[in-house]
């Protein structure tokens, strides 16, 4: 990835005042044979950062697997490797056959510091498309695999208009609903909404995909502003 692009995204991410509550939205659609390198980045208020590098492969039309490495930095500290993850998406029905395209997310992460715990995430992915629009909804549960850990629920949704391959405007919604058993009132949860843009740019026979969203908090506990940036280099 060109260094200028990396610097530009970091600058944009650092410009916002607070971090994203969730850093990705998953489509349940899997494209057989796809190979990609993906980069997700978040820079938090005060200088905290999180960067994820992902190697992705879709061996079948219903399974996409990815290995991720996370590097993060607390304010005033050096960057260090945070965790490694194995992420899987299973498509449950052929794209477009039913009213909803459905998928499952299954991810295991291993923290490389702070107790070196394992963490599991399970999610339900749903998508509905019309001729010009695509609506995606993710609902996920995440839990550290240690005694006494709580299961945290998150939700994310996106609507996008397929204006053209290079630019698809839309809106995103992200929520941290809290721990199962004591979710609390919606006002105590984190809910954010805002505009998003997606697109793909052909580069020779390969494709560069991008996603960016800038959301505002809807509740007192939500980040005032959040940004989500993602670049994917898809090749054959």
């Amino acid at each position: 990835m060109p260094p200028a692009v990396v610097r530009g995204v970091l600058l944009l991410a650092g410009w916002v005042s607070c971090a994203a509550t969730a850093d990705v939205l998953y489509s349940p659609t899997v494209e057989e044979g796809e190979k990609a390198v993906e980069w997700r980045s978040t820079v938090k208020a005060g200088g905290a950062e999180e960067h994820k590098l992902e190697l992705e492969l879709s061996p079948t039309a219903w399974w996409r697997a990815a290995l991720l490495g996370t590097v993060d930095r607390d304010p005033g500290s050096p960057r260090q490797v945070g965790e490694v993850s194995f992420e899987n998406i299973f498509s449950l029905n052929p794209q477009g056959r039913d009213f909803l395209d459905l998928g499952l997310l299954a991810e295991v992460s291993h923290k490389l510091r702070d107790g070196r715990a394992f963490e599991a995430e399970l999610g339900l992915l749903a998508e509905h498309a019309t001729a010009r629009t695509v609506t995606t909804v993710n609902l996920a549960a995440e839990r550290e695999l240690t005694g006494g850990a709580e299961t945290e629920l998150t939700m994310a949704a996106r609507w996008r208009y397929r204006l053209g391959a290079r630019l698809e405007p839309g809106f995103e919604y992200h929520a941290e609903l809290g721990a199962v058993g004591h979710l609390g009132s919606p006002r105590a949860q984190r809910h954010s909404v805002g505009p998003a843009v997606l697109g793909r740019i052909p580069v020779g026979r390969e494709t560069l995909r991008y996603e960016a969203a800038w959301v505002w908090g809807l509740t007192a506990g939500s980040p005032a502003q959040s940004v989500r940036l993602q670049l994917e280099w898809e090749f054959h």
Binding site: G33, Q95, L124, A131
Partner: protein
């Protein structure tokens, strides 16, 4: 969790009217026919049959589809009701020859 999900998908499938089936054949990296027509506002099933000995990736931004059809294989593209227009699709491995148009009226 997967059983209720599959049941939900099946029930939603039953609720929709039957789609119109269309067929495209891929031979010598060319589609046959190269132009197909369909009525607007109807769900479509576009069957693509690959008679070549190499796989091909069927790609169409207009139809929001990217799908691999293996050598001597067959795939189905399930398409929502479309407004009138021309919808291009092509084979990513042979974009110069493998081109087709779905014309919706």
């Amino acid at each position: 969790m997967s059983l209720p999900v599959v049941a939900l998908a099946a029930s939603l499938s039953v609720a929709n009217p039957a789609p119109l089936t269309l067929e495209l054949t891929l031979k010598d990296h060319r589609f046959n026919p190269e132009k197909i027509e369909a009525p607007a506002g109807t769900r479509l099933e576009l069957h693509v049959i690959n008679l070549d000995t190499t796989s091909e990736e069927i790609e169409s931004y207009a139809l929001n589809r990217e799908k691999v059809v293996r050598a001597n294989g067959r795939i189905v593209l399930y398409l929502p009701p479309l407004p009138p227009g021309r919808y291009d699709l092509y084979g990513e491995e042979h974009p110069d020859s493998a081109q087709a148009v779905l014309e919706v009226r």
